[in-house]
């Protein structure tokens, strides 16, 4: 039967362009930091799970093969997950499953992307030239959200500023825009109406890693564990008549399953902060609503009231989020491990005071793949 699982080690590279680091070097950088944090070496690891977005981004097919040596995987199981943009969170969930299954005590999860090796917009357009890219896919749905909710246009700008201000506190963040401001965001070039350049995620390089462990191992680990209280995944078709692309049912179902498993009945009050996958500014209110954190039509009001800022009542993306660093395949794992950082009290300058329960989330494809987990400083958090 399912055993408890905890995050006991976290590692992250710098997310700026890494032209002088190989893919092997990149994954090893994150892995070694996570192992050091966990008080372990590669020899302690029972299994490795890696995740990344399409192999075509770096033109390396099935990279678990060529990275096996760098990840200390020789003689061990190594497993490779690919679920589009949600892959980082999916990979974390697969890693947790390995521990929960009772078959493995210590699992190393590593995700990465090296966007400087290729052309992500080409790949995100399905590899066909002249594609619309991710922003082109999402912009009409964002416009639909705006018209449906009546949100004012400054909401997107405000999120773009908030996440970049948070990023200034995160030493790993790719974008560091010291003079970020509403004016600067709205004056940046319009890419996909209503998304300006500064409302979009960057093309980043980087790897992220966590060590996941059984309860026995976690209790003996040097740092505080972040217990994986619940995880959930849901998928729906990319396109069909009547699909609600603003509020996909898979996202609603996923959140419902997650909260039910965790025992959460009032996410806004019972969860202390969230790392949501927000590659374009407007996805913050869209996921606040789409994942039942606020009622429909109310998400933007939470943002507008400053509640999602680091000092607010429900901080969203205290690390700076995908808007500040987007090594695509790693971005979901970064959300999950930043949630763990918050409940372990290891988030440094972007620590949310007193965070005990945090949500890590990612989505992918045509907003059709969802993967989420809730971590807590308590093995069995009391939500009363």
């Amino acid at each position: 039967m399912a055993r408890p699982c905890a995050v006991v080690g976290i590692g992250q590279t710098d997310y700026r362009r890494q032209l002088d680091v190989t893919l092997d070097g990149l994954v090893r950088w994150a892995a070694l930091e996570a192992l050091e944090d966990a008080g372990m070496t590669f020899a302690d690891i029972d299994a490795i799970v890696i995740g990344k977005a399409p192999d075509a981004l770096e033109a390396v097919m099935m990279p678990e093969l060529s990275l096996a040596d760098a990840l200390g995987a020789v003689g061990k199981p190594i497993h490779r997950v690919h679920t589009a943009g949600s892959v980082g969170a999916s990979t974390a969930i697969t890693g947790a499953t390995l521990v929960e299954s009772g078959r493995y005590e210590r699992v190393l999860v590593v995700c990465y992307e090296k966007q400087s090796e290729g052309n992500a917009t080409w790949a995100l357009s399905g590899g066909r030239s002249g594609g619309q890219g991710a922003g082109g896919t999402f912009a009409p749905w964002i416009r639909s959200y705006i018209s449906r909710s009546g949100a004012p246009e400054h909401i997107g700008w405000k999120i773009a500023v908030k996440d970049r201000l948070n990023a200034l506190k995160n030493p790993h963040a790719h974008l560091r825009i010291d003079d970020i401001s509403i004016e600067k965001v709205k004056e940046s070039p319009m890419l996909w109406d209503p998304l300006h350049f500064l409302e979009s995620c960057p093309s980043s390089d980087g790897a992220a890693a966590v060590v996941l462990a059984s309860e026995d191992v976690a209790r003996r680990s040097p740092g505080p564990p972040a217990w994986v209280v619940a995880h959930a995944k849901r998928t729906e078709f990319s396109s069909f008549p009547g699909r609600d692309t603003v509020r996909p049912l898979a996202g609603v179902d996923c959140a419902e399953a997650l909260y039910a498993k965790a025992g959460v009945t009032d996410p806004l009050r019972q969860i202390d902060c969230a790392e949501l996958y927000v590659p374009f500014s407007w996805y913050e209110p869209m996921w606040l609503e789409g994942h039942l954190i606020t009622p429909e039509g109310e998400g933007w009001k939470l943002t507008d009231a400053g509640e999602t800022e680091l000092s607010g009542g429900f901080p969203v993306n205290p690390s700076g989020g995908v808007l500040s660093s987007n090594p695509i395949g790693a971005s979901g794992l970064i959300r999950c491990l930043e949630a763990a950082n918050q409940v372990r009290g290891t988030a440094g300058d972007y620590q949310v005071d007193g965070a005990r329960v945090a949500l890590g989330h990612a989505y992918g494809g045509a907003a059709q793949y969802f993967a989420m987990w809730i971590v807590s400083s308590d093995l069995n958090p009391d939500f009363r």
Binding site: M62, L65, I78, R128, K233, G365
Partner: protein, 355 residues
């Protein structure tokens, strides 16, 4: 001490034929298998609690190609599912682990691939290390040739041994309705063929294939409800070796040995083994690694030399063993899958008919 695994069994299987070129889409191949496998159990799509698929974007040359495959599975209302960029055998391994958690009982596992649109020899060269190997153009056939040469140089096999593997596989494939290459060829005829990539001849290579496969696995009593003759999975393990051929003894498969040890393969005899023999010399290496003797029938389906729908090939090995156990033709069997150049990564799945 690892607790004993929860009992999980293969309760239904389906595979398409191995096609040299399937002119419709990969989701179509998948849908055919999914409909078929559900029909065998009288399960509805909504009864499946977890779905996991293995496929490869690079085969179709299109990033996110796997996203379309979900159209062949069904995802409305939304489903709980995942995807590995690995052979379906690894998807099975994750599904088996997922069922160990105890909260769900039924999972659907899929493997699919269409190699025909591309040039596999060029595509699979991209599996090699991008810094020191890929620039050399180290394609999989050349790497398999190096491994074959290592066997010959070590005196562990002869070219006649390779030909005997091919002759037997093609002969056995004549009884496999899904096979793509099935014919009687004598060893001497085969040895008379010219080299393709010495010491390999064309017939030592797998065909280029399109195809898909699916299985339903279920836990405990749910498995007994769904099938009168489930094939119980007694263990799945997979291991990898160094990526650099120069750091390995290419005449052995150390990772297969490790995986076999983990599942307790040697604890009792196995009647049948389905091995992912992509190149004929690999069978000799794998037989040794898994300790298979004369009492074990190897690749009665003809194996990958008779049909190689990449990303389904490994899962089909599981199906072939499970089908034989379920038909009462074998009581204990082992399925093997591999990934990477020169058998770099290997998976072993041990099954029996229970009792």
């Amino acid at each position: 001490m690892t607790p004993a695994p929860r009992e999980v069994a293969v309760v239904a299987t389906s595979q398409t034929s191995s096609y040299r070129r399937f002119d419709d889409s990969e989701p179509k191949l998948i849908m055919r298998c999914v409909n078929d496998v559900l029909g065998h159990t009288r399960l509805d799509r909504n009864d499946v609690q977890f779905t996991i698929a293995g496929s490869c974007d690079y085969l179709s040359g299109m990033p996110f190609a796997f996203v379309m495959n979900i159209d062949g599975v069904g995802a409305w209302p939304p489903v709980y599912e995942s995807h590995v960029e690995m052979d379906g055998a690894w998807a099975l391994s994750e599904a088996w682990l997922r069922l160990q958690l105890g909260d769900i009982d039924v999972a659907l596992v899929i493997g699919s691939g269409k190699s025909s649109p591309g040039r596999p020899r060029e595509v699979f060269a991209l599996q090699t290390d991008p810094y020191v190997m890929a620039p050399l153009g180290m394609d999989p056939v050349s790497l398999a040739g190096i491994q074959a040469r290592a066997l010959l140089d070590a005196g562990k096999a002869s070219e006649r041994d390779f030909a005997e593997v091919v002759a037997r596989s093609r002969r056995d494939a004549q009884h496999n309705p899904h096979a793509q290459v099935a014919r009687d060829s004598t060893v001497d005829e085969l040895l008379g063929a010219p080299y393709f990539s010495a010491p390999l001849r064309t017939h030592d290579l797998p065909p280029i294939s399109d195809g898909a496969a699916a299985v339903i696995i279920a836990a405990g009593d749910r498995a007994r409800d769904l099938s009168d003759n489930p094939a119980w999975i007694r263990g799945i393990d997979h291991r990898i070796e160094s990526h650099h051929p120069g750091l390995r003894d290419l005449t052995r498969s150390v990772s297969s040995e490790l995986a076999a040890g983990q599942v307790g393969l040697a604890d009792a005899p196995v009647d049948v083994a389905e091995l992912m023999v992509n190149y004929s010399p690999e069978e000799l290496i794998l037989r040794n690694a898994l300790g298979l003797g004369d009492g074990t029938t190897v690749n009665p389906s003809g194996g990958p030399l008779a049909g190689h729908p990449v990303m389904a090939t490994g899962l089909i090995r599981v199906i072939e063993v499970a089908d034989r156990i379920r038909a009462g033709l074998a009581s204990r069997g082992v399925a093997h899958a591999s990934s990477g150049p020169c058998l770099q990564q290997n998976l072993v799945c041990l099954m029996d008919g229970g009792g």
